[in-house]
Symmetry: C2
């Protein structure tokens, strides 16, 4: 399994945008990117056009590419969309998820929980690692929904939402950990109403947290 250079470059750039290494709205000059990722211009264009179609970059006509800008309005739109999609997928998943689905949820929560405890204790863990486990847990919760298309759309929206959490460096510590715990319990009991309620609170809390950080940085 040899994965293509364009593919790996795309994944690296995507990660760099989500984690803020390539700051929002910054211009993406071909020469700089060539030096940074050690690939040719056509390969760069291939990766960039994929990012643009995903909404993580924008193509400015005849002027190259830039990282997608961020705004409060866009964060609210993404959060609303994530809520819509994730609630629906969660309901389906709780209803039809098989036994092995539950064990995957338990496993994903265990990994997430361990790194959360370390972060709450003040250990400056790898944020990329934490993101992977947070994503992994939310993904596991809805994985039983039975629709690949639903999961794909969710993934795209989720990662763009996640970028706001990362650029604002928001980690809500114990509160988020408690909500994750509550989601785990709701999943094990297949309690759709409770799961939905906690998830809505979880997302709303994340948005409020990010907006406070935004206001603080803006001031």
């Amino acid at each position: 399994m040899t994965l293509s250079l364009a593919q790996t470059t795309y994944e690296k750039m995507r990660s760099d945008i989500i984690f803020g290494l390539l700051p929002p709205a910054s211009r993406l000059r071909m020469e700089e990117l060539r030096a940074r990722y050690h690939v040719s211009v056509p390969t760069l264009r291939e990766a960039l056009s994929r990012l643009a179609s995903e909404g993580l970059a924008v193509a400015e006509d005849q002027r190259g590419f830039a990282v997608a800008p961020i705004s409060e309005a866009n964060l609210r739109e993404l959060a609303a969309l994530r809520t819509l999609i994730e609630l629906h997928a969660l309901e389906r998943s709780f209803q039809v998820g098989h036994v092995e689905w539950k064990s995957q949820v338990v496993a994903a929560h265990h990994k997430l929980s361990r790194i959360e405890q370390r972060m709450i204790a003040g250990d400056p863990c790898d944020r990329v690692e934490w993101k992977r486990y947070d994503s992994g847990f939310h993904h596991a919760l809805i994985m039983g929904c039975g629709s690949g298309e639903l999961l794909a759309v969710h993934g795209s929206v989720f990662d763009r939402y996640l970028r706001y959490q990362m650029v604002y460096l928001t980690f809500r510590g114990q509160i988020a950990a408690d909500e994750h715990q509550a989601l785990l319990e709701a999943a094990l009991e297949r309690d759709v109403a409770r799961g939905k309620e906690v998830l809505v609170r979880h997302i709303e809390g994340g948005v409020a947290h990010a907006l406070r950080a935004h206001a603080a940085q803006g001031a």
Copy 2:
């Protein structure tokens, strides 16, 4: 405003896939595409990778690209996703859409209605034209929702759903026209419940129609 060659090639290929000119699951060989679209290989790769990230093509590792295959399961997934997103957007749009939104809905319906009448009468109109007006009307209905992200996701799902309608050559004639008329009236009265009810029936009818055509062709 000179739009880039990669952009126009992408749009043309996207259209060719949706309308079945590039049949589902067919291999996309670079040399053939070069001859067909008169562009270079890197430009092709750029367009293809965008289509792949959108789900209209698939990248087979080290083996080039192919048009995304079709399946009954995928059609059902797309229809369910379209229903989820479009119902939500329709509700928001009916609730918060401004006055100019209504006039756009009326205008879009008028154009759609005229071509539908011609097709019912037996006039073999341009299918591309008809698709544009059908898309335009459904898009106009939800345009007032106020979320660009929601509209973008809807567009992606809608067009992939539309491909099934096009490859199966399904035109439901008077029934679809009546449902479009009912949607128009619901919009003008901002009747969310009625609009949702008609939209669900509209999508379910389209899926059933496509599946019947699928079964007939399979036999």
